[in-house]
Amino acid sequence: MAGPLYFPAPNATLGAAALMTVDPISDVSRHPVLGRSRLVVAVILIVTLTVVLIERLYFLQIVEHVRYRALSIENRFDLLPVPPVRGMIYDRYGEVLAENHAVYELEVVPEQVRDMASFMTWAAQSLSLTERDRKKFDKRLHGRASFERILLKSGLSEEQAARFAVNQYRFPGVALRGRLRRSYPLGHVTAHVVGYVGRIGAKDLDAKERSRYRGVAHIGKLGIESYYEGNLLGRIGYEQVETNAHGRVVRTLAREPAISGHHLHLTLDSRLQKVVRNELAGHRGAAVVLEPHTGEILAFVSVPDYDPNLFAKGIDQVSYTALLQDSNKPLLNRALYGRYAPGSTLKPILALAGLEHTIDPRRRVKCPGFFALKEGGRVYRCWRKQGHGAVNLKEALEQSCDTYFYQLGLTLGISGISEALTTFGFGKQTGIDLASEPDGLIPTALWKQRRYGTPWYPGDTLNASIGQGYILSTPLQLAAATAALANRGRLVRPHLLRGVEDPQTGEIQRPAEQVTEVQLGDASQYERVIEGMIAVMHGSQGTARRAGQRLSYRIAAKTGTSQLVSLPQAGEAAKDTPERLKDHALFIAFAPAERPRIALALVIENGGSGGKIAAPIARRIFDYYFVERLRRAALKESRYVRG
């Protein structure tokens, strides 16, 4: 529009007249009346609309108040589980076997990060953030709300965590988070007995148990960790929190603290465990060492082993596959699950059964190096081709004469043999506190008929009487039976748990001991058998005499060889047999023979003969045990004197 910005009122001037046409019948004087009537209409409208608003607010605040109040409370409150701290596991001297280690994780809230690129550059330099970490992070980032905390890097070292902490002010939106991770300080050494925890899988829990594990990421998968899961877990706590619209916790309103899991004190002697494990290192095999009078297991070793910390951290697929496919089967707990023919290690028990059967221990049996059931029939060899000559019971044990025990076995019959072995705990679970223990196998005529549909032959009895054939036992069963021999007939349940400590009260509960009397033999009969076992180590012809030299205490022992099937030259470890077809070497022993403090069973797969390889190992284990015992006792004494 041209002209001045000043406009005259439209009614008076020519300009206005040009702008609009004037209605001839118009009446400007009616303006106030019309205008005021319209204002009255306006007031009516205002009142109406106000009533509509008030009605709506009345509906929300008065009529529906209860519903909306419930909705607002629902909005605000959330119940968060607080995971308990898992109980620790100690050995008998308080050495830590499983603990909870603080690990640091770096978490990022994307919306709060001002400059992601510069942070990533810094993290790559200072926290050794790899390209892989970044890619994984990008993957996690995808499809998550930008206010959520997203894991960037886990397993930061203390140093890295500290380095980030001092620089944290430069990177808003990045936070360090501490978490407890299970760790096993002895690693490989206790892998097979302590076991490990792993991430809770879909099959680990049923619906009922799931509520007890809210907020808990790990569960005991194997070994003690699994068997005593109920004690170790503790009870989860809850936090009632107020959250804002983004699900962020604003404050905590109420708190029911989590109750830490109970600490376990095991019977293990971690130093002895280490010694045993190192002695066996390089072999495939197992050893169980225990206190015969209490059944407390001092060492429980299976080799090869693995690092349980890998599992606690979350093992990667490559390492796991490698472990699974390793032909040495490092994941197999041989001490518990390994089933071996016990070989000659059974002979002391059979000798005891023979004595019970009124066999004269002085009676000699002539051993020409073989035994034939019938004149000109099939020949059963003694391990010594040239024979042992005429041997009595003690000599038969000392030299492990098969011919003597063939004879004995025939006298006892298979029912006598299996009865004797069963009363020493073979063929059934020992009751150790580890899950899914196998039974082993003690054959009977009935069993063979059922299993193979063939009758029991006398030849089967001969095999059984030297611990071969169908008989299978675990190293743990062997150890338990050895302890029963050492106890002169008291079969004690072998166990790993010494006490459960309540971390709140510090109170330690000890499990009840379980003892069953072996219904076989009397005291003098035991002494006769043990005499034979002592001769194994100390006699001039003993099968383990080399290992028994220069001993200041007396060991009662028995060697054994577990034949692998279908080797014609039974008992003779042919030099040219391939490694995996060699016999398993077995050894059982206890010491001191008169008042035993320690007993063990040892299996070395494809180790050849028990006397050569297994006996020296057992000797070193015993030596260590007694020296260490003396050292500890001396230490205690000196403390006592000083104190």
Binding site: M1, L57, L60, E64, I73
Partner: protein
Amino acid sequence: MFADRVFRFDSVLFFSTGIILLGGVFILFSASGGSTEIIFHQGIRIAIAIIVMLGVAQIDPDVIRRWSPAIYLVTILILMLVLAVGYVGKGAQRWLDLGLVRFQPAELMKLATPMMIAWLFANAPIPISFGRLMMALTIVVIPAGLVMVQPDLGTAVMLVISAICAVVLAGIRWRHLIILTAAVAAALPFLWSQLRDYQKDRILAMLDPWSDPLGMGYHTIQAQIAIGSAGVGGKGWFSGSQAHLDFVPERSTDFIFAVFAEEFGFVGIIVLMGAYLLVTGRCIRIAYRAQDHYCRILAGALALTFFFYVFVNVGMVSGILPVVGVPLPLISYGGTSMITLMAAFGIIMGMHRRRRLMT
């Protein structure tokens, strides 16, 4: 004129707006989580607004009438300027940066449009001709179109409402109003197609907020929960859990009514609505006694528009109207709407004083 030497003032209007402003500061303090910085800014804005109101009140209504077309045309030009070089704030080109102050020219339009229409009808013969009505239509469509392109649906709607109020008060024939309404109704499908997606969503969410409770309906539902959970007495100042835990969106600006309702309850709402009605009623009364038709139309239209602000805002927060981004007058934080409103009250105040001097 000797009247110019007298200070023009209306105590009822001054104190009733003052009560609302004061209540607004209180609820804003809570809504902002106790931010003194925000209260400081709002305080400055209120001070400016009061000065503007008292200043505008001193202008002779005749002067305002004569300048109406000029003000209108200049504002149209500024609006176009905004579209050209507008400062982009919140995805919408609403602001013009004048160095120190960011100016929202659409606000000025809310005054200029009813002024222009009042000017157009001030001496119009009765009954009002259809031609003049079409001119009035043009006067509102141009700025409303410009504002909608920005896009600012809320202001566009309020411009149209203020124009309709002015036209009705000017004495438009009901027949014409019905024809116009029918025309708008016929144009609705076209207008619908012109709406941005988010604007469509807001209207759909209003129709059924629970159909998408975490999406578009979320704001409405959370605001309703805030209001409904308060009950008669409210949760108390600073104790509105919905507001303080971020459930209420835009709680300092467009949705501040939800905070008010949550903390002060039904009783607080009645008091607040009473204050708004007092302001509106006082303005209507001044309009009723106005010296001439221009003043009557303008004062009445501004008063009605003010009331519609309250109605649209409370209606959208309580879920009976779509969310169109209209602030709660005199209370919502930010923007230049408060200054515009107080300027409007200044205009009305000036009319009141003038009439009393004449009698």
